[in-house]
Symmetry: C2
Subunit: 306 residues, 2 copies
DNA sequence: TGACCTGCATCAGGATTGGTGATTGGCCGC
DNA sequence: GCGGCCAATCACCAATCCTGATGCAGGTCA
């Protein structure tokens, strides 16, 4: 068994095709075919079912893939360990974040990290989850913080923290700031929500539906800050994650209302490549981010929880 | 980087010599030298300090070794996983046990395991820890249950459970069966103990010394059952692990006395090769053994604890 | 102190391996 | 039924690795 064969296995599994997998790892289709065959022979088990339209992993292929990613991850860990041994952390980190976390959470992390490790180049990209996971899979991003979605082929997923959803209105619309609200017993809402591609949207829709919450109008805005700005200047309202709006507790530009019913949570998960470990710099940034995120989420749960 | 290089790295680290490592993995000294050199170049770090009397790992070598064992272990896990996928567990398991556990603990495990997996061949070896760890390192044993000792180069160590030491005498020597005893306030003892090579002996000696426990005579017997037999037929006494003597609770061939002072514990650890995972059969046997051991240890602590 | 031994590094040659590009054959959609 | 797509196979070539011999450094013993 060779490492190259494991890398090939991973590529084929993730691409579902010998040919495209071969391209991905800069090999030829014939070489790919031969190596997978050799691997199957050395393991004495068929890993993929071939068809004229590509390949699908067998049960054994699934298992082997899972292990192979772990082998490669450990393998990469060798280099990470050695790099971590250096007293001086260097290199560059690319991180992807969803808009929710870019308002409040990330700035202190970046400030602290940059002062702790001045020789690390930081790149940050703000986007929605689909784009971010594509970025991680393509290797453009080291890791990304996203809401939980499906289709994580080739990615390692770690749950980071859970946040609360908050009902947000303009100030002085008849409710006290920070007063709790039961959405099931309220006059029909004018809601600004993200579009149907957004991961939170599905959860919100399903809550609205199962609890029969009356909605007068929905406006779709895939722009967080615009949404908040609109809410502040009109009688439109929104439902937003605590991390996004906790800054309004002081500013009072908007009034925040903990939601007693229905219970709605926002999860944040970390995605990273399944078969490569984070670089030392990325790992450290990740730890800082995790720490700050749970600090903020904790505060949200305490002060904006129902 | 190649798997072969990692195997070489592991061998060199554990043997402390290119030449003997080469023999171990059926390679030549020159090939070994070249591969290690290639690995060092690909990692851009020196892994071993060469000397005319052998090699010693650098700090980087230590780290790389640790990771390499994990990589190889994961790698072996691929085959284990696939074997585990078979509905029918087969193969053979070789396990090493110290005498303490062979009196009471192992029989029910073997009985259960043999009936659950009738097609697995079981080999068991009873010996003292040094011999057992040598057996595991040589690959003769899949794993072994031993008391904690040093020198675990090349072995993965897992703590299994903790047991109590019990003071054992012949029946009717003036103490009630199961009555607790404080060894610090007792007439000078005639003790039968294992020899100085035994892992428990050092702990017992140090306890005797630090608590100034008076000892009239010590007889060294490296044979557990002979020790117990002698104790049953004379005024010699011994200190024995709960697992070993719990069978006497019913038989009353010997009287058992929980020790209130000094506090003495016996630990059991599992050792297995660091860079190969257990075979499915070995894993299952291991689980049964763990379960039974903690059942017995629990009972010892409950009924023979101080 | 000098002969000897041990252990690693190096070298050149040779065998094995793996990769390449072209070709074949099977299946699907048009 | 034809072209497109995909995997399997083959023969050839290149890279790699292994081998056995040799060199060199340090330690040991007489």
């Amino acid at each position: 068994m060779r490492l190259r064969q494991l890398r090939f296995l991973v590529a084929v599994y993730e691409e579902g095709s010998f040919t495209t997998a071969a391209h991905r790892v800069h090999a030829t289709q014939s070489g790919m075919s031969m190596q997978i065959k050799a691997l199957e022979e050395s393991l004495q088990v068929r890993l993929f079912d071939r068809s004229p339209s590509g390949v699908t992993p067998t049960r054994a292929g699934e298992l082997a893939y899972q292990r192979a990613t772990r082998v490669l991850r450990e393998l990469g860990g060798i280099k990470s360990d050695l790099a971590m041994m250096e007293d001086h952390i260097t290199g560059s980190v690319s991180v992807g974040l969803m808009p929710t976390t870019t308002r409040t959470v990330i700035a202190p992390v970046l400030a602290k990290f940059a002062s702790l490790y001045p020789d690390v180049d930081i790149k940050m990209e703000e986007a929605y989850s689909a784009q971010l996971s594509a970025g991680v899979m393509a290797g453009r991003l080291d890791f990304a913080l996203v809401p939980p979605t499906q289709s994580y082929r080739g990615l390692k997923v770690t749950h980071m923290d859970s946040d609360v959803e908050v009902f947000v209105t303009a100030p002085d619309k008849g409710r006290d700031n920070l007063s709790a609200i039961d959405l099931t017993g309220v006059e029909p809402l004018k809601l600004v929500l993200p579009g149907p591609d957004n991961a939170r949207r599905a959860k919100i829709d399903s809550s609205l539906k199962t609890f029969n919450i009356p909605v007068r109008a929905i406006m779709e805005l895939d722009a967080m800050m615009a949404t908040l700005d609109l809410v502040a200047r009109s009688d439109w309202t929104t439902i937003a994650p605590g991390c996004l709006v906790i800054a309004d507790m002081e500013s009072r530009q908007r009034f925040l209302h903990p939601i007693t019913r229905p219970a709605m949570a926002v999860d944040y998960v970390l995605i990273e490549p399944a078969s490569t470990p984070l670089s030392p710099a990325a790992q450290l940034l990740c730890e800082e981010l995790q720490a700050e995120l749970s600090r903020v989420c904790q505060r949200c749960r305490d002060e904006l929880g129902s």
